[in-house]
């Protein structure tokens, strides 16, 4: 394969021989029959279909369930690399929780002049109903998925802090399961740190945040899903199953005597902790969006009176708001007293006239994102856009500059994937999964590696043709 590229390749790093984390894997790979390996790729697909690991794509009639393509070449991270990432992520997640507590209480950071008041007060992700509320155990973001990208040997950037309802953890677990089944011998050659304890850790983290009203010996936990048609339904069912929780929809729930109770075959049973996989605005039709069919009327009042724990807490979306993103290094420093270990991607806030001018002048080189968008929808990748697309986006930017931020096109690292012609580099990102309890921050070694399967593409989202890889953190 061509190792001379302007992008950092994690397997070869620009040389002919693999970088050290990959050396053993590469030896094994070279000794395998390429035909057999390609057959394994098909096997993996059949395996995923049989288990039913699928997602639903919005806006495509007929194509209701699809597989996320899985690539059999793992992404490997050394113990040393991981140590630094782990420290950086923990620091960032602690800062986010302190920040959330602060902005829903005294707003010291605004008083100190480190964050403009307007960014909070006029932000739709800020939830006034959470002001003064103390979530059980003091935890706001029980589950976080920190999106990281890499551009060089030691250069990692945080792209996004997913602090609402990050998804993808089921793929992390199933990808590993698949690799263990297909290549058991590899796991005897390399010491790969296991990821399988995630569901138990999730259960423990949620149990540690039981609400004041809990009085049994084991908190009752439920996963709240929008239902079978949601794109991540598989994951909701998977997590409920793996941690021994109930999988509920809003119509299974009712508020009885100040508790949220689920309708069982024996009657109504109170729930202590709800891991919700629906957005804030749908959570409670009485307090938020009145026409939501997905939510439980009055659940926020039960929450405030200590009758239930909602994970993640309502109003955490402000922490991963793209308009606030550029302030994250300050936020980390303000609450931890330390410099941020992980870097932020340089960001232009289009709401500021000078920045807007720069962005418009350099549109063809930048990535422009909607402040409240997600999943790769509604974003512009300048270098890949046509003249017409650029012109159309320019209009949008001028009309609503405050709705956008811009970042340089990052030289995302590549990891090879298996193609018909052998190994070929493709761009990747990484989403490690973080669990926060009052006592501890737990980070599963590895995470979900998303890979843009199209040659040269920088968009890794599954909704835009991305695939996944198993992610290995080495033990020593």
């Amino acid at each position: 394969m061509d190792t001379q590229s302007k992008f950092f390749d994690e397997m070869f790093g620009g040389a002919d021989t693999p970088r050290s984390p990959y050396s053993r894997y590469f030896d094994w790979f070279e000794s395998e029959d390429p035909k057999e390996l390609r057959k394994k790729s098909l096997e993996a697909e059949a395996f995923f279909r049989r288990i039913g690991i699928t997602f639903n794509v919005y806006g495509q009639k007929g194509a209701d369930e699809r597989l996320i393509p899985f690539d059999i070449v793992p992404r490997i991270i050394s113990a040393r690399e991981w140590q630094r990432l782990e420290k950086g992520i923990e620091q960032r997640v602690r800062a986010i929780n302190a920040f959330l507590h602060d902005i829903y209480h005294r707003q010291e950071i605004v008083r100190a002049g480190r964050l403009p008041q307007a960014l909070i007060a006029r932000n739709v992700a800020f939830e006034p109903k959470m002001i003064g509320v103390n979530p059980p155990g003091g935890v706001y973001t029980h589950i976080v998925g920190t999106d990281l990208v890499r551009t060089g040997e030691d250069e990692f950037y945080v792209l996004e802090d997913n602090a609402r309802t990050p998804s993808g953890v089921s793929y992390m677990l199933e990808n590993r399961e698949t690799m263990l089944q297909m290549f058991p011998e590899l796991f005897t050659k390399l010491k790969v740190r296991p990821v399988s304890s995630y569901p138990q850790s999730l259960r423990r983290s949620l149990s540690d945040c039981a609400p004041p009203a809990f009085d049994g010996d084991k908190p009752v936990i439920a996963v709240l899903t929008p239902g079978i048609h949601n794109s991540a339904y598989f994951e909701h069912a998977f997590l409920a199953d793996q941690m021994g929780a109930e999988l509920v929809e809003a119509h299974d729930l009712r508020i009885i005597d100040g508790r949220v109770a689920m309708r069982t075959t024996r009657g109504f049973t109170p729930i202590d902790v709800i891991y919700r996989r629906i957005d804030d605005e749908y959570l409670d039709p009485l307090n938020f969006k009145p026409d939501s069919m997905l939510g439980v009327p009055g659940i926020l009042d039960v929450y405030k009176s200590g009758g239930i724990t909602i994970a993640n807490a309502p109003g955490t979306g402000i922490a991963d708001d793209k308009a606030l993103y550029s302030y994250m290094p300050d936020i980390v420093e303000f609450y931890t007293g330390e410099k941020a270990i992980l870097q932020n991607v340089p960001t232009w806030r289009c709401s500021e006239p000078d920045s807007l001018k720069y962005v418009l002048d350099n549109l063809a080189d930048l990535v422009v994102k909607e402040v409240h968008g997600s999943g790769g929808y509604g974003m512009l990748v300048g270098p890949a856009a046509s003249k017409r697309e650029l012109a159309r986006f320019e209009k949008k930017l001028r009309a609503r500059p405050g709705a956008y931020i811009a970042q340089p096109t990052l030289a995302l690292s590549t990891v090879p994937i298996m193609t018909k012609k052998g190994l070929a580099p493709r761009h990747v990102d990484l989403r490690p999964f973080v669990l926060v309890s009052p006592q501890k921050v737990r980070i599963t070694p590895g995470g979900l590696t998303r890979v843009a399967l199209k040659e040269g593409s920088l968009v890794v989202n599954s909704s835009q043709g991305g695939g996944t890889k198993d992610t290995w953190v080495l033990g020593d």
Partner: protein, 313 residues
Amino acid sequence: MLGKTAGGLFWMFRYLERCENTARLIDAGWRIALTRLGDGDNEWESIINTAGIRDLYEQKYDNFDAAHAINFLLRDTDNPSSVLSSIGVARSNARLVRTALSAEVWEAVNEYWMTMKAALARPVSDRNLPKVLHEIRSQTAVVRGTLAGTMLRNDIYNFCRLGTFLERADNTARILDVKYYVLLPSASFVGSSMDNTQWENILRSVSAERAFGWLHGGDISAPAVADFLILDKRMPRSLAFCNEKIRGNLEHLQQDYGPRQPCQDFADAICAKFTGRHVDDVFEDGLHEFLEASIRDNTMLASHIENDFRFNG
């Protein structure tokens, strides 16, 4: 267990049973069509009747041509009881209740659905029909086997079984009723060779021709077949057998849950109608009336169960 989950399990197994029964019906019709010497498509008419989908069918077709009937029964998604619709509903319920199923049961249902989606993507040719019908039977057997071999005998299992036997009882009663109803207009048929062919057809559509042969030799008569399919507790598709199973599963639920539910009284009353009953009395009172009442009882019982265990709130 959530009420919704209990309902999902119940309907999942009703639809799986329906898949299999529809396949059996097609098989019976197909064999008769192959061995019949005269012309006319009236066999398919009676099969469409039996499946309880005549109104739907007539909205689409004005004759009972074999190709139309088979297509409608197998793969037409406008027919909610077609094999393709049924396995779709069964699988969608399985997704809903995934956390209550063993991995093996889920995978068996998922694979069943994938196989059928591929096999029924296009109309099935005459040549392929036996293969497809065989596939349906064997995939159903795999689901049933994984259920028996991997599931705890707890409330989850009871709701699966309740769905299975309610659907099966409904199906057996319908098959008998329609056949009898078809025969009724000309009383001269009773005991004739035409009549015997019809009864044989019934046995075939519940895969019971061999079992019947063991018990009754070659003597196929209306009372013998009716006795076999209504009252014989050894026959796993008879009304008496299915209703006993329903009662047993409800009893098991009571041992687990505590309070006795109204549906149990209802199930007991249904079972009492079969115990100690002689088939001659059934004919005396009218087979059609008996079967009609039985189908009605079945529907009522299902709605009692639905209420007592809070399937829908």
